[in-house]
Point group: D2
Chain length 390, copies 4
């Protein structure tokens, strides 16, 4: 085992850190941000800067304009990007685009890649992934999916409603998951590719959420007899859940990476504050009641990073990382939340205001404990792995 | 010991519960609310309804139009009021007004009561309490106060900046705490009464905060040679911290009461959801991973209520309740936060959206762990009480 | 609601506290104690002292020599008794005798009371309660009971094995729970009374356990064709589980009461140590890292006491207290464990030695989180209470 | 970064695992164990078996009969050894011997190595390390040391009392830390080597402790005019604390390694039990309330291992690992305690008995949170590292 960075990893870390500090941080107060995320105009401006810095869509293959990062390299770069909540937007390695690009590289046909991955990787369009449904549909348990795609000649006709579809507003591509009926038979879940806007796709509303970092917000989307040609099926019919697995394990790990950077940012702000603010005759950090919280932050940051690196390494070996990514998701999301919560507390009154970024990071990371599978689903899955098969 | 409610307590509980359910809940989606709190128009409308129901400013003496509630009766009524985030606004028992009325009843002169308590209790005006300052001023450690009031003939001239002054926007009364200089001598902290708006008081901005339930928001206030007549000193010069104590112990307990109601609301929403939402073949509540969280909510709600009732009883005995109110503040704020956090988790994706009230209650209660003294200050105070005096 | 003690409660508290301090504490280093509990000789000596102080078996009706304490009075007295691990032995209000006496008073016939409750209340004999079995028998789920009682003329013939039977060694009475077969039909669980020693009852061994406070230890007991006359059935055939409920809710609450006293003892030792031991230039208690832990102890002690008092009050109303006693069992056992754990930590190296009582109290209270239903069973039961009945 | 094992690490892991499983586990019920640890006869028998297996004192240089393991290799081997509480005794890599050998290799003269390290590495003798004192002496704060060594011609005369001196009973070597006075001047702390038994060293008693795994127990040792020749000073006069640092950082990490193995053992026992024991119609592990606890164990085991590996890697780079070893000590000791505590809980009644090893592992690991610096000292040290130097 070896915990040193390769020269390339070291270089990527340096370059990303510098780019975030010098180029992205000054944009943090840019007005083109709303509770439903940074605007597309802001995103495009940042993407152009990232491209100039050679850091755009770094997870993609160089063929598509990226850097072809390994999972471990992503761990390095995405953590640095996450240090600013605008960083992953700038580098175009934010959810859901990052996961979508990863999946398309892995399972799309060459024609689909040319048509959709190419502009996506270039930041010319954004994408969204329409899987989740409200009760009684597919939430943590995707098998409850109610959206249907019924074969009709060369097309599929899709009806249903999706919920919490991140980035749907303004996206150029939607990947739709639907239960597929052919000749009256349930053929399982299939993924469909669809340009946006499209006749038959209605964005009902953008949902207010506790976090506000994703361009396009989180939307309620309705399909009204949407017709998709069978050529636009991603991969094969009935393999939707398999492809979702391809997408999910790494996607959940890249969430860990980005938010690790955000938590580090909150920690740095809290350490700085605790070194300056005085109470009862000494700086806050000299109070053990504060200093111990910051010490616990150090511990949580360190162990989170190790869990991410390890899982990234497993993925780089081409091995199944379901157990490791479930462990990482639970451990990292809960550790980062503790960090953000402590930072709020250390800042006192300041911590519950928008005067520092800590309050917002706290809210973002609260959502992370739900996104890509709440802790309970991962614990359930880990427990099942320990049960003796009957 | 006896845990039963008196007939009067039972009646107050029933009436408040009915009023909240039938009258206040329908207002919850009223548009006259913003991130800086419900508008004054909405507040006045709700106050009128509460008055009609005989529930306005119930903590005040009947002489001022209230119900003269004991602390234990407040525990009952405020919890019910808190079940809606608009409830305490409606009953006019919200911070900071509630604490200010309590303090004025206890320490103001008859003339001051006629001039300020009377319209305040009637809901004709709102009030604010200007004590806290940003670093390096008075935060958790009030002795660091930098705002000064310099005697000048019959007046005091006040200069300085206050921070997180709740409700300053639109208030009719400000109670100002300032370090008092008379003839070049520091005479300690004094409280001053001042009508708003006033020449010399500038509300610089309203701070964005994680919660949004208080009318008038949380403001940055600047004093520029504000002149206050010596007749408008509250009580006596130099006794500001003593009066703050009169205000703080009960005020921190009424926070506990109101937010207990809010946490109960979140819990009810989560229980309802967990009984309806299905995953993996059964309702969520049948999953122990969810059911145990709701069981822990029950425990936290119950123990929080007992801690509040006990402290209210101590206050009703006329005894010093500093230890009990510190215990209650730490225990209740942390327990209610755990409840709100679990409710978010139980709701999954729904929990991080504004589609239910749970997300907002989560944010409100996060602030509660800071307001009126962060947990650390109370733990420090409790520990000091255990130390042998040298 | 009212949290004051009645004069009788105050008097009981004073007398018990004095008795424990002056009479029982000096016995704590008595050599007649082993990992399997204090000896019967020591117990009898202490019982005689308690009787002289008018404090023997205080939970029993005066008719049987006790004080006829209400549940709230038990809360006061048992906490004081628990301040010494020998206290409940001395007062003869320790498990399992205390629960057995309670059940016999509630459900035994007058003849059975004369024969068994009378000498039991006087401390002339001890008793044990043989219900629990090892896998695959009756543990947390009593319905899995494997011990059988088969009717044979005027007798029942009992066969099976019981496990963790507290106090079996040296007891004069065993109450046996067994699945009852009459004419080949399963008639449910029945309780049988049996003098000890008895032909057909073999104590296989005394199990080593993490705690060591119960006279007679925890035993493995085997029934080999034990014959019990049908007159010795407690109450009626087939009502074993119902009687067990009569026993369990109060029994689990009296555990809370006694161990609350033990935790208070540990806390007092830790506070005393932290006030004397110096490190890095000040006393330990002046270090927030220590002081905050002791503050948390205060909070946990206070809320535990309130939960106990409240549940005792519900029992005194003659109401079903299953919910309240489950809440109390989980909340109190886990709070007291946190207290004991913190005390160990505050004492540092001293805390893991037998040089103070803290190490032993830590072990005792660890067992309490299991005894009379592990937390998980109570959380499960509380969650079930929240589920909508189909 | 790379998490794969080298072929040598893999081989060491396999061999140690096999040795523990086949050779050591059968000794676990050997009667030559007491609350004060395994006897020396048992230790010697196990050492001989380890030597035959080529695994004795593996941390030592081959020159002294060991395997010259790197810190990372120790992480692998010591975890496997720790799987049995007798494993580290067998491999002779248990505290305090392991730390003493490490320190002697690093700082002793060649002559001292020949005289003491050689027989120590061979298991011919055991050693102890006499530093800690009771209040008001040197505990967590070593600067409070009260034991003195006064120069007297060619000798030092040592007086004082040491406390919790592990393994003193039956050891052949004692390393003594004492404040050194030469010509009336305090020359700082010095380490002295001393054969045992020695005139002037009295083992007053063996302290009862919560754990029982160390040969020779934990003793109170008194120095009565012990005369040590100046040639027996370890290294140089006045450098005692520096050498203690050499010893402590790795020693605290090897504690983490060994107890990680013990926690894994407890986890395996709990998983096995939860797969067999049924309650309420299914196996325990199928209950989420149990399964989630075991899932959390997986997470804690994994992250603990990563923290250990990382710190071992830092040590292997020859870098100062004070921060990393403090992080590891806090994180690992607390994680392993949570694991052991959950295992007790999962086992229910069985968990608090000596019928499985879980109860004992729980007690051992409780002590680990204190040994080699309680968590509070490490948090304090980490916080200090975050404070801006004035």
């Amino acid at each position: 085992m070896d915990f040193s960075l390769t020269p390339r990893e070291q270089d990527l870390q340096d370059r990303t850190r510098t780019f975030i500090r010098d180029v992205v941080l000054p944009y943090e107060k840019d007005k083109r941000q709303s509770p439903h995320g940074p605007s597309d105009a802001l995103r495009r401006e940042l993407n152009a800067l990232a491209q100039r810095a050679g850091l755009l869509a770094p997870q993609c293959d160089p063929h598509w304009g990226g850097l072809g990062l390994s999972h471990r390299e992503r761990a390095i770069v995405f953590e640095e990007a996450g240090y600013s909540l605008l960083g992953p937007i700038a580098l175009h390695c934010m959810a859901p685009d990052e996961g979508n690009m990863h999946m398309l590289e892995a399972v799309a046909s060459e024609a689909h890649k040319q048509r959709w991955l190419k502009p996506l990787a270039a930041g010319d369009i954004r994408s969204c992934f329409a899987m989740t449904e409200q009760a009684p549909g597919a939430g943590s348990d995707p098998s409850a999916m109610t959206t249907t795609a019924v074969a009709d000649g060369d097309h599929f006709v899709i009806n249903g409603e999706k919920w919490l579809i991140t980035g749907a507003n303004g996206a150029g591509l939607m990947i739709i998951m639907a239960r597929t009926m052919i000749d009256g038979q349930d053929r399982g879940a299939t993924m469909f590719m669809c340009d946006l806007p499209a006749k038959g796709i209605v964005v009902d509303r953008t949902i207010d959420t506790i976090e506000e970092s994703m361009t396009g917000g989180h939307c309620v989307v309705r399909f009204e007899n949407l017709r998709v040609h069978r050529d636009d099926v991603l991969g094969e019919v009935g393999r939707g859940f398999r492809y979702a697995q391809v997408r999910l394990a790494p996607a959940r790990l890249t969430h860990c990476m980005r938010w690790l950077g955000a938590a580090r940012r909150a920690h740095d702000i809290a350490v700085d504050y605790a070194n300056r603010r005085k109470a009862f005759g000494k700086t806050l950090i000299e109070h053990e009641g504060v200093g111990f919280q910051l010490a616990d932050n150090l511990i949580d940051l360190h162990l989170s990073r190790l869990a991410i690196w390890h899982c990234a390494w497993v993925l780089d070996q081409g091995r199944d990382a379901r157990t490791e990514s479930s462990i990482a998701k639970v451990a990292v999301s809960e550790a980062l939340f503790r960090i953000a919560d402590r930072c709020v507390q250390v800042l006192g009154g300041m911590g519950v205001t928008g005067d520092t970024l800590v309050e917002r990071i706290f809210r973002e990371i609260r959502a992370f404990r739900i996104y890509d599978g709440p802790s309970e689903v991962h614990r359930w899955s880990l427990a099942r792995g320990l049960a003796v098969k009957a």
